[in-house]
């Protein structure tokens, strides 16, 4: 099965330039065109909330919470509403993909700010999936694990991405290409019956007690 996105237009909203460049690369390689505005034909919208940072709960300041709630929840909700209204007006079925984090799936020490804010967003996205289904619009969530985009969970008490790999069943950290591939799949016709799903793209990280700093046993 080759993923063929020829004729589809993907809008990438939020996210760092580095992230968007890599995602765009995946989508274009599958035949899609990529934009950063919700105008004209838009078949899929990928919403990337802010950067992942970790901070101990007792060290987090009101500004940390304000910025996480504003970027990860409020701005994402407005983007989703704009995209939804546009797709409904276009009378085309469409796809929304939210990039979340494993920190929103399991409590990870020092990730309360990012984890809590993205967990709020995930539910709003799932309820959007319920309401938008009748319009042929799917809304899905990718929970990214540790990727090469700089997040090393402090709870693991390790200093490098190489050491983090011990905690990942698939024995490597993820890449944005791993995430981009799943975005392409969710954009494709083959994914048309998937909605409201939360898909961890994490090499199995959430299967282990990694949040408590215990690596999986390996023979």
């Amino acid at each position: 099965m080759r993923i063929d996105l020829t004729g589809k237009v993907a809008a990438l909203l939020g996210g760092s330039p580095a992230l968007n460049d890599r995602l765009a690369g995946c989508l274009v390689a599958s035949g899609a065109q990529v934009t950063q505005v919700i105008e004209g034909q838009v078949d899929v919208v990928v919403i990337s909330p802010g950067r992942l940072t970790d901070k101990a709960f007792m060290d987090a300041e009101p500004d940390d919470w304000d910025s996480a709630l504003s970027n990860n929840v409020e701005q994402s909700v407005y983007a989703m509403q704009t995209a939804a209204r546009h797709m409904i007006a276009q009378r085309r079925s469409g796809r929304m993909i939210i990039l979340s984090s494993v920190a929103a799936l399991k409590p990870l020490a020092n990730m309360s700010v990012v984890g809590t804010s993205l967990a709020v967003l995930q539910v709003i996205a799932q309820m959007a999936a319920v309401d938008l289904g009748p319009y042929g619009i799917t809304v899905n969530i990718i929970a990214m694990g540790v990727t090469d985009e700089s997040w090393i969970p402090r709870s693991l008490n390790v200093g490098s991405l190489t050491e983090v790999q011990r905690y990942i069943p698939l024995t490597r950290v993820g890449t944005i290409d791993d995430v981009g591939d799943v975005c392409c799949f969710l954009t494709s016709d083959q994914a048309q019956y998937i909605t409201g799903a939360i898909i961890p793209v994490d090499g199995g990280y959430t299967l282990t007690k990694a949040g408590a700093g215990t690596p999986p046993k390996r023979e």
Partner: protein, 257 residues
Amino acid sequence: MRLQGKVALVTGAAESRSIGWGIARALAEEGADVVVNDVALLDELDKRADDLRAQGRRALAIPADVTRADQVSTMIEQTITEMGRLDIVASNAGIVRWESFLDITPANLRAILNVNIKGNVNVCKAAAQHMIRQGQGGKIIITSSVQSDVNFPITPVYGGTKRAMHIFVGCLALELAPHNITVNHIGPGWVQSALNDPAPDQQTPEDIENQRRAVPLHRAGTAYEMGRAVVYLASSDGDYITGEYIRIDGGLALGKD
């Protein structure tokens, strides 16, 4: 009397039908001295403190807006000054709005995030700071909702802030465990508190009958029943429980479509 000698703070406890008041009453019944807090209905808040004193407990009414870190800090300081200690915090204050996804308004989105997330942040952080200094552990219990497990399209933001409590509570439990502070949440189902008075699906006798049918145990929960779960977690029975959630909903989560 499992909470003799303990001092508890309960936020969102002014209204007589509130879960906050149910919690405060249940804690007091087990011997705790209780500080009750709310942002509004301050005459009612004073009456709640009077009711607690009539039961023979020390009690205090402290108005504060939980979305304001400075007011929460002052509230904790005043609790320590007047009551001498703080052992149990029921971070219960919360709000709800009924707007489905496309109808979410910026003002309501901001309001719900402020009270239901930042309110809990402010109360838990100020309480934990004091408990760490006090050095005798502590109990933090957040009121989430059945909507931390089951979500409804008419309350996407409220439901999001409640489901997020699994992550929030879990992270705090991990990070505060070294100080012997436990952090848990309770999930009320259908309770006929004032919070629910504007609920679009609870307006007519027929609506209420439908609510009743949706609950396997065929009735609303009482605020006091919510309080009893908080007592369990706050007492020594709950000493080995942290990062956990107790759903108190008559089976609503099981049966609702």
